[in-house]
């Protein structure tokens, strides 16, 4: 059994996953409500909350799985990328648990963790595949060749796709996190009502900041009443532009790689329009789209593992 711990952003999470990829417990304590009043994740606020929650979520995961640490063979923890102060809380706790029990520890890359949300039962996907990782922090096109072997084909030059959803939601007067709100509202709107541009950037990269600016201009011209009337159309058109950009790049990359299997992971993978636009793609299970520790434990099955005492001085990293 692998104990996974994740604290890279605003979810405090612990999970237990068997060595053959069955989830026994997956506890996520989201801080979204806490950060909503600030309109985004505040690193210091997130780190404080992680410290309050890290013990309880690990205990809850053990309880939910009906096991004790005696049943745990390995600890897997997110080492980066993410908010360093937040990562250090989970890393310190994970190291201490592993050290206490002389367990090996697998430091996990958060992005590989998202990809590893596909490796879990009951429908595991095996590499190779082309993977779109789209979340509040990242937008990456990955040529995944093996469990520990991937090449970055494209990335965002400015905002992440999930960030574009959040910023758009704010302009539309919707709540945080915005992805789900935009998705819901878009169902009542006309996606052709506004012609928001998809940024033309070279290669397989992405850019969403211009789109956000277009939405800003569109909303600025409207009175409060008009905005109320057009909000669903704006949401639908805005969402359509983001999804078009993502799907367009996925199709281009797939053509270049010779029609590989396509997979989508990360928080934006829960977007209904994206899921519908890629009907043949392997999609991360809905509960594993946003940050969680089951995906970290999953990645920990394949990640290079450090035996005691090799991990005692391990540090977190902010970016890859």
């Amino acid at each position: 059994m692998i104990l996974g711990i994740e604290t890279s952003c605003d979810e405090t999470a612990a999970a237990l996953v068997t060595v053959d990829g069955h989830i026994r417990a997956n506890v996520v304590s989201s801080q979204a409500d806490l950060h909503a009043q600030y309109g985004g994740v505040v690193p210091e606020v997130a780190s404080r909350r992680h410290l309050e929650l890290v013990g309880p979520v690990v205990r809850e995961a053990l309880g939910e799985a009906g096991v004790t640490l005696d049943d745990v063979d390995k600890v897997a923890v997110t080492q980066g990328p993410g908010l360093v102060g937040a990562l250090l809380v989970g890393l310190a706790a994970a190291k201490a648990i592993a050290w206490s029990r002389r367990l090996p520890l697998a430091p996990v890359d958060h992005l590989r963790g998202h990809v590893a949300s596909l490796y879990l039962e009951p429908d595991p996907v095996e590499p190779p595949f082309l993977c779109l990782l789209a979340s509040g922090g990242h937008t990456l096109l990955l040529d995944v060749r093996g469990y520990e072997d991937e090449q970055v084909l494209g990335t965002t030059l400015d905002d992440a796709a999930g960030e574009a959803f959040d910023k758009g939601a704010r302009l539309l007067g919707l709540g945080y996190p915005g992805g789900r709100e935009v998705d819901r509202l878009a169902r009542d709107g006309d996606p052709a009502a506004y012609d928001f541009p998809v940024a033309q950037v070279p290669g397989l990269d992405f850019s969403f900041s211009g789109l956000k600016t277009s939405l800003l201009y569109a909303t600025r011209e409207l009175s409060a009443d008009e905005l109320d009337a057009r909000r669903a159309d704006l949401a639908a058109s805005y969402q359509r532009a983001i999804i078009r950009a993502l799907v367009g790049r996925v199709r281009e990359a797939a053509a270049q790689l010779g029609s590989p299997r396509i997979a989508v992971v990360g928080g934006v993978a829960s977007n209904s329009e994206l899921r519908a636009a890629l009907p043949d793609a392997a999609l991360a299970p809905l509960p594993l789209c946003t940050d969680n520790a089951a995906m970290i434990a999953s990645a920990g099955r394949f990640a290079a593992t450090l035996a005691y005492p090799g991990y005692l001085g391990l540090d977190a990293y902010a970016s890859r």
Binding site: E44, L51, V54, L88, A94, A96
Partner: protein, 198 residues
């Protein structure tokens, strides 16, 4: 009772293994490598992790990230080894190591943490008042040496041990033991974002 004590609130993290008041081993390094110290302490003291009976952990004030590394480590140890623990103020530990002195911790942003009438407080260095001849210790005293000395304070040399919140004092000051998950950090400052919302 075998107690593991550590404090990671200031730039130099300290740790100690103490058995019924007897200091078996002491170390100092950095917060991020605290567990290397813990490991070495137990080997020096000829003990296993499972021999530990309790934890004493520094709760700050000091570096927010540093304090959290110490407390998260304590939470992990307590969870895995079923240990109780006690939180000890970093200022109290400094004061215990230098009786009669004012403990001053660098709070960055041109402020310091200090005990004012026994209460942990955050203030501008220039607002710290003391009788001439008073000894000030801690990394805040070292950093603002010129200012405090001009006001008549006595600051020990930079390499003086009294500037460190040594973990043996945390072990000595540990009060009633309780659940380590409930030991709270002493931040003394709200995050900027929270302040601007308030």
């Amino acid at each position: 009772m075998l107690m593991l004590a550590f404090d990671t609130a200031t730039e130099v993290a300290t740790s100690a293994l103490v058995d019924d008041g007897e200091v078996l081993a002491e170390r100092s390094s950095r917060a991020r490598t605290l567990l290397e110290d813990v490991d070495a302490l137990l080997r020096q003291g000829g003990a296993n992790a499972r021999d530990l009976d309790a934890l004493a952990v520094g709760i700050g004030p000091g570096s927010f990230t540093g304090v959290r590394i110490g407390l998260a480590t304590a939470r992990g140890l307590a969870l895995a080894l079923e240990l109780p623990g006690a939180g000890v103020s970093t200022l109290a530990a400094l004061a215990a190591g230098a009786p009669g002195a004012i403990p001053v911790v660098d709070a960055r942003r041109r402020e310091v943490f200090a005990l004012i009438d026994g209460e942990p407080s955050v203030l501008a260095p220039a607002d710290l008042t003391f009788e001439p001849g008073t000894v000030c210790v801690g990394d805040g005293a070292r950093r603002y040496r010129g200012l405090f000395e001009a006001g008549g304070a006595v600051i020990p040399p930079d390499d003086d041990e009294r500037h460190l919140p040594r973990a043996r004092f945390h072990a000595a000051l540990a009060g009633a033991l309780g659940p380590v998950d409930e030991i709270e950090p002493l931040y003394l400052r709200v995050p900027d974002a929270v302040r601007s919302v308030q």
